[in-house]
Structure formats: C-alpha cells, structure tokens
C-alpha cells in the first residue's frame, strides 16, 4: 500500500506539464485516484465535503449489477446444457463456469475498448478521467445476446463511447444512455446477427437436441404464441440478453440502488406503472389477439423491461432531472415500451427504443417543469409593505 503510494508520488513529477510523460497525465491521475482519495483540501467555499464522490456512486451501481451478472452467467450455462440435452448431468459448478468463461471475454472487451477511448479523450482534453464508463462498461455486456461476436462488442462500444458520449463532452453531457446506444447500434447495423433464435443460447460448438428452439419468450409472443413460464422468467432461466433475464437479481439490484438513494425510485416505480397501464389497456381491447391478452404483469418479468426500468431509465444524466419530470419520463417509458412490444411486430423488444426515445424528450419534459416553476414563483402570494 505504501509502495503503491510511493510509486505514484515519485512518478507524479514525470507527468506534470512540460515533463517527458505528460501524455500519460490523465491515466496517472486516473489510477492514482483509484487507489487513493487525494489529499487536497478545500480552498474556497465549504470547508467540509461529503465523503461521497463519483467513484463511490458508480461503484455502487456496479455492485447493484453484480446479482444480475452472476445470474446471467449461470443462465448462460443453464441454457447451453438445456439446449444440448445434458442439463441433468451438468453440475452447478459446470453450469456456472461455462457461463463465466463465455461472459467474461465480453466484459473484458467492453471495458478495454471503452476505457481506452475514455483515457485518450481525457488526455486530449486535459481532463481527469471521469467515472461514467465504469457503469456503461458493465451495462453493455449485460444487454447483449451471448452469441454476439467480440468484434461486434468492440465496434459497438467504440461507437457508443465516441458518438454517444464524447462528442457531447463526456460524462454528464450525453443525451442518450451510452450502453443503449451500443445495443441500438448493433440492432440496426447487424440485424441478422442480433436477432432471430440462434443468438440467445450459446451452443459452444455442440449439437442442439431436436426439441430445442432457442426462441425467447418475446419472440414467441411476437409470433402470436405467448407462453411464459412465470417461475423461470422470474428467476431468470429463460433465453435472453445476458443480464436481463433474472427479475429476482434485478430486484436485488433495485433494492441496493433505492436504499443507497443512488437510483431514482420515482423513475423505477413510474416505469412499472406506465408499463402496467399499457398492459391493462391492451388486455381490455385484446379480443382474440393472444399477445394483447397476455396478463399485463407478465410483461414486467420478460424481456428487458425490468432491467431497463432499474438500470437504464434511471441513468441520471440522460433521464429527466426534475423530480416532477421523473414521474412523467418513467411513466412514458413503461407505456411506450409495452406498446412497441405488442403493437409493432418488427420490434419484439420495445424497452430499448422507449428509453432512447424518452432520453431524447427528457430535456423537453424538464423544460416544462422548469417553466411551471418560473410561473408559479411569479404568482406567489406576498406580504405587502
């Protein structure tokens, strides 16, 4: 520990302005601050500052993602062995290890590519490295199908970080959620590889049994045959993107975010309300359409709805920023997500598009909330002199 500190302190003069390794300045600072909260103290303003910083905030979001990640790894193995008909003979360790070994490379690629670009941009701008990508780098693998080629992950991550974030000025300045930009990029650029029934289950070169279909509940439902095994969908033993399948794991993450106050419970709740309202509306007018008649609450546990509501919609930078605005923003995400899902057969999953759409409109929602604050303030009752 002391050795690490000495190393960073000794090397600090080498990266100062004008010194030989100044081009490594941001990286040096990034790693130094990762190991040690710096010793600088308040010069102006308040003399005391809260112990919380962006590293801790982002760290807690990553912590909240861990249950979904672990369940995703287990489910990857589970789907694999189910597909090749060896589910009964595979042990728990085998199952988890298979998923671990297939998910880990995706995480590594996402972080290496994303952080690499962040480092370069921070250095070019002469800024500190901002922590936003710590979360994006974990979100990107979790919303990808397991069979996405690694080069696609790399391309999508690069696209998301550069065009989704850095062109706007970096962490805190982006309009859309960078992780969803990565997903949307692949969805529209490589539709053949990113949908259909073959991408969700890793076969690992082995032959699937004859009864295997590989279709997600979303795909089945869009084809007009909704069949949801509620227990499997809740615990996360269904095909789907890596992190989105287990509603239980996502709920654990949601609890962490809400208890620590990092994630907005208002957005999460209003998204669920919006989705439920749309689901009920569809139920009411279902007629003979089987998908429309699917119980509204089943929508909440299949596909990316829960994951999106808890981890994507709540991204504080791209969400609405006023407290009233958050209710409207979340409600419309849920509402639109279910509408796109059920009514538009071209997009079996509506969550991604609903969130990106509402990211776009979040500033507009905030604008009206701020305007109402302004006009309310002008009309305030006064004690006359």
């Amino acid at each position: 520990m002391k050795a690490i500190k000495n190393f960073f302190e000794r090397t600090k003069p080498l990266v100062q302005k004008g010194a030989k390794y100044h081009w490594l300045h941001s990286v040096h600072d990034g790693f130094f601050t990762l190991f040690f909260v710096q010793k600088n103290t308040a010069k102006t303003g308040t003399h005391i500052h809260d112990y919380i910083d962006l590293k801790r905030t982002m760290g807690i979001v990553v912590l909240a993602l861990i249950p979904a990640l672990l369940m995703g790894m287990y489910n990857t193995g589970y789907q694999h062995f189910a597909a090749i008909g060896q589910l009964d003979s595979a042990s728990f360790i085998d199952t988890f290890l298979y998923g671990f070994l297939h998910v880990l490379p995706i995480i590594i690629v996402s972080y290496v590519v994303g952080l690499g670009i962040e480092f370069v941009f921070a250095q070019l701008r002469g800024h500190d490295i901002q922590e936003g990508f710590l979360v994006s780098g974990m979100l990107i693998p979790l919303i990808m199908p397991i069979n996405t080629p690694l080069w696609m992950i790399a391309v999508a991550t690069a696209f998301a970080v550069i065009f989704g974030k850095e062109v706007f000025g970096g962490t805190g300045m982006n309009i859309w959620n960078p992780a969803l930009i990565a997903r949307a990029f692949l969805f529209f650029a490589y539709p053949g590889q990113m949908s259909g029934d073959s991408v969700w289950v890793s076969l690992g070169g082995e032959k699937a049994v004859d009864t295997f279909s590989g279709a997600t509940p979303m795909a089945l439902a869009a084809a007009g045959h909704p069949q949801v095994n509620v227990a499997d969908a809740f615990f996360g033993l269904i095909p789907g993107s890596i992190g989105e399948t287990s509603t239980l794991a996502i709920l654990i993450g949601a609890a962490i975010l809400i208890i620590t106050g990092i994630g907005s419970w208002k957005i999460m709740l209003s998204t669920v309300i919006g989705g439920s309202v749309m689901g009920l509306l569809l139920n009411t007018f279902a007629g003979s359409n089987a998908y429309m008649a699917m119980p509204f609450w089943e929508h909440l546990i299949i596909g990316g709805f829960a994951f999106g509501a808890v981890f994507m919609a709540t991204d504080p930078v791209s969400a609405a920023q006023t407290e009233t605005g958050k209710w409207i923003y979340g409600f419309l995400i849920g509402f639109l997500a279910i509408m796109i899902r059920v009514v538009n057969p071209a997009y079996p999953e509506g969550m991604m598009l609903a969130i990106l759409l509402m990211n776009t409109f979040a500033p507009l929602i905030d604008h009206y909330v701020v305007q109402s604050n302004i006009s309310r303030r002008l009309k305030r009752a006064k004690v006359k002199a």
């Binding site: 520990m1 500190k5 601050t33 190991f35 040690f36 909260v37 710096q38 010793k39 600088n40 103290t41 308040a42 102006t44 303003g45 308040t46 003399h47 005391i48 500052h49 809260d50 112990y51 919380i52 910083d53 962006l54 590293k55 801790r56 905030t57 760290g59 807690i60 500190d128 901002q130 922590e131 936003g132 000025g169 970096g170 962490t171 805190g172 300045m173 208890i259 620590t260 106050g261 990092i262 907005s264 504080p316 930078v317 969400a319 609405a320 920023q321 006023t322 407290e323 958050k326 701020v370 604050n373 302004i374 309310r376 303030r377 002008l378 305030r380 006064k382 004690v383 002199a385």
Partner: protein
C-alpha cells in the same frame, strides 16, 4: 400573528465539538482589525493614518460610493497597521487597543421618540450601518432606500452554531431598543424568525415585531430561507437583514450614547479542548483566545464562522466582521487508501452510501479533505434535498454558469446568497463549487441590474 413553518428539506451535519453553555475566560484581544474584504463589493476610503489615535465608534474608513457609511473602530487605541494586498487593495486596518474602551459620544435617546432620519443618522455616525445587509445580493444596505421589511433570524442552524438565546439573554433590553431603532427604518414590519426547538424563546417577548417559528434542519435558521416563506422576493423587491447579536450594538448605542462593540462568540470544533463561549469584540485578534485552546494532535484548520460558510484564517488572525463563531477542524490533507470503497462506519455522509447512515445520533469528526475530484453535474435530485425553497438549484446554477440574466431572475437569484446553497456544496458528489458560482451570479446581477 405568529406562523409556524415546518421545513423538511435540509441537513444537520452532526459534528463533534459543539460549545457547552459555559463562558470561558481569555485575555482580552490586544489588537483588532476591520477587513474591507468582509463586505462584498466594498471600495474603502481611509480616514485614518498609521499612528493616529481613535476612540471606539470613530471611523477607520468609509464606502467610496456611499460616503455616509462609516466603518468604525470597535475599540479605542492607535491605528498601527494598514495592510494592503495586490494593487494596494486594503486588506486590514489594525487598531492596537489601549484597554480603556473610550467611546466617542453619541446621542442617548429613546429611538421611538426620534424620527427616521435621526435614527438613520445616529446609526451611520456610530458605525452601525455596515451590520445591515440588503436582500437581494446580501450586500451593504443603501441608506437612501426604505426597505419593504427587515428580517432577523434569531437562531443559527449551521453546524456547531452558537446559541443566540444564551448570548442575548442578559441583554434583552438592549435587543428591544435595537429593534425599536430598526423599526423606524422601514414602512413595513420587523420580522423575527424563532427556533421551533426552543420552548419559551427569549425573543418571543420582543415587542413591535412579527414573529414566526421555523422548525426543521439547517438551513431553517438562514434568514434567506425565512424570507422566502414569509415574503418571497421577486424582481424589484428589497428587504434588509441583520444578525441578532449586531442588534445589540444598535441598542447599546441608543441606551448609553456610546459605541460598544463587545460580543460573545462560540469557540467550537472537534480540535478545541473545551468548546465554550467567550466574550470578545468585533474584529478581535484571536491569538490570545486560540493559544493553547486546541488539541494540536493533527494539522488544524481555523475558521472564522462555521464550516459551511466561514473563512479560513490562521491562529493569530482576526475574527470576521459578522462572525459569532470560530471553528477548528482537522485539515485532513492525507491520502485515503481506496477511500471511495470504504464501508464508512465512521464517515458521516448526506448520502446513504456509507454504513454511518445507520447511526442516527452519533457525532463525527470531519476534516477539510475534498474527498474526491471535481466532475460535471452527473446526479440529479441531490441539491433539491437541501434547499427548503421553491427553487430549482441546479437550473439556477446552470443559468449563472451560462450568464443568462433573464433565467437567473426567473429561477430565483434574488432570493439566495451563498449561505443558502452551502449545503449543496457540502453534499455534492461532483464537488462543484456551488458558493463560488452563486457569488459569480450575484456579482453579475449587481453589475448589470444593480
């Protein structure tokens, strides 16, 4: 008619080292200093030279743009130093006390029997005017203007703040006289803000005022918050504010015809051996008070005022003009290994991301470490929790940053000064310098709108 106003938003930062209600003894300060820098925007013009003898209440300098506003020596003695900074800007005018406290002579009169102009003249001549601040902007009040109201918050809710009930208790008659004088200056009312957590506040017996009770955490005691809930300021509105302890100086001036600037301050903070109250004087040198009073187990930071809005000083520096409190906390200029990942049983936080949030009563030692690097605005909804006003703080700050005067007006720049948003700066995850930004906005408004 008294109203009770319950405020929910805000935060009491539970620091160690609150002052016990006991008066300590310390040698009287041998020197005092007035600092023109305590008054934002003031351009001082000296009326004394080094070596000149002054009595208490005689001017040391005046306001270049309002020559009637005199800044009086708090003690009698000799002007020994005039310290200047860059471009000969006056930083301090130092008077070495002769220990006799001889005051200049003023009219001894019942302010209720005087006219507004007579009261005003006495306040200006006696050096009392600089204690009166104007809202908006929190700057020196302009004597030519009649304010709509005068607001006084009778309690300080800031961390480790002194208890005005204790300070004013023995001098309540002076306080009443001071209020009578102030009441002459406005056509409206004098409003007192009383603490909700004190039974039978001594201020509830004051006559000729309207009292309101404020419940809730800091910043409930900030006069800006109280104005917002009683008579919010829109464009064109103007009120005055003054600290309760400074009302006593005005009262004494009329009661005795003498300028008496002696005041009571609290010496607080985790590094103070015995946090107590002390009798001293406006602008006093703190060396005799602070010598041997701190633990000296770590590098210490001395603050004139509280930890949110005070000014950093050295151990032989002077008390700020408006301050009734001196705080000593650890400097904390040390690295924290993986500090951001610490479970944090001992780290008080406004967020709920540390285990310390499980302990609701415990008091903590906080130091001056920044605890992180400065970042862009990332989180939302964080500042709102600490501003008990119908104001959107982040939007106001962003309007200031882009210099949009119309938006600043609409979003409430007239209602805030630095102290009202200080908690946001404390709690900010991105370590944004909120008070500096507010000051920048106020300066722009003073320059462009006036």
């Amino acid at each position: 008619m008294s109203k009770v106003i319950n405020l929910k938003r805000g935060l009491n930062i539970r620091l160690k080292g609150g002052a016990e209600p006991v008066f300590g003894t310390s040698a009287p300060a041998d020197k005092i200093a007035l600092k023109p820098t305590d008054f934002p925007g003031l351009v001082p013009k000296l009326t004394v030279k080094v070596g000149q003898e002054v009595k208490a209440g005689e001017p040391l300098f005046f306001d270049k743009y309002n020559p009637e506003i005199l800044f009086a020596s708090p003690v009698s003695g000799t002007v020994t130093e005039i310290n200047r900074g860059e471009r000969r800007k006056i930083l301090e005018v130092v008077v070495t006390a002769d220990g006799k406290s001889v005051s200049a002579e003023f009219t001894k009169a019942d302010p209720q029997k005087l006219t507004r102009d007579q009261v005003k003249e006495q306040l200006l001549k006696g050096g009392m005017w600089p204690f009166i601040k104007q809202r908006p902007y929190g700057k020196l009040a302009n004597p030519a203007i009649v304010p709509q109201h005068i607001f006084i918050s009778c309690f300080d809710s800031a961390p480790l703040a002194p208890d005005y009930e204790l300070i004013v208790k023995e001098q309540i008659a002076d306080f009443q006289t001071g209020i009578n004088a102030l009441a002459k200056l406005t056509d409206g009312k004098v409003y007192l803000g009383l603490p909700g957590n004190v039974q039978n506040s001594i201020f509830s017996g004051i006559k000729g005022v309207e009292t309101n009770v404020f419940n809730g955490p800091h910043p409930a005691g900030n006069v800006g918050i109280q104005i917002h809930h009683i008579s919010p300021l829109n464009k064109g509105d103007l009120v005055w504010t003054i600290n309760p302890q400074d009302v006593l100086f005005i009262g004494r001036l009329f009661e005795t015809g003498k300028a008496d600037f002696s005041k009571i301050i609290a010496l607080t903070g985790s590094e103070v051996k015995t946090p107590n109250y002390y009798k001293t004087v406006v602008g006093a040198n703190l060396a005799s008070l602070l010598k041997g009073a701190t633990k000296q187990t770590t590098k210490e930071r001395f603050i004139s005022g509280n930890v949110l809005t005070g000014k950093q000083i050295t151990a032989d520096d002077y008390l700020g003009f408006f301050d009734s409190q001196v705080t000593v906390i650890p400097e904390g200029d040390e690295y924290q290994f993986m500090g951001w990942a610490d479970p944090g049983f001992n780290k008080f936080s406004a967020s709920k991301t540390f285990f310390s949030s499980l302990f609701r009563k415990k008091e903590y030692v906080l130091n001056a470490n920044m605890n992180g690097g400065e970042r862009a605005f990332v989180l939302s909804g964080q500042y709102e929790k600490f501003v008990p006003m119908d104001i959107l703080p982040v939007y106001l700050l962003k309007a200031i940053l882009v210099n949009d005067i119309d938006k600043m007006e609409q979003l409430g720049i007239y209602e805030v000064i630095e102290e009202d948003l200080a908690l946001c700066e404390y709690a900010c995850t991105s370590k944004i310098k909120v008070q500096d930004i507010v000051r920048q906005g106020l300066d722009v408004m003073i320059k462009e709108v006036g």
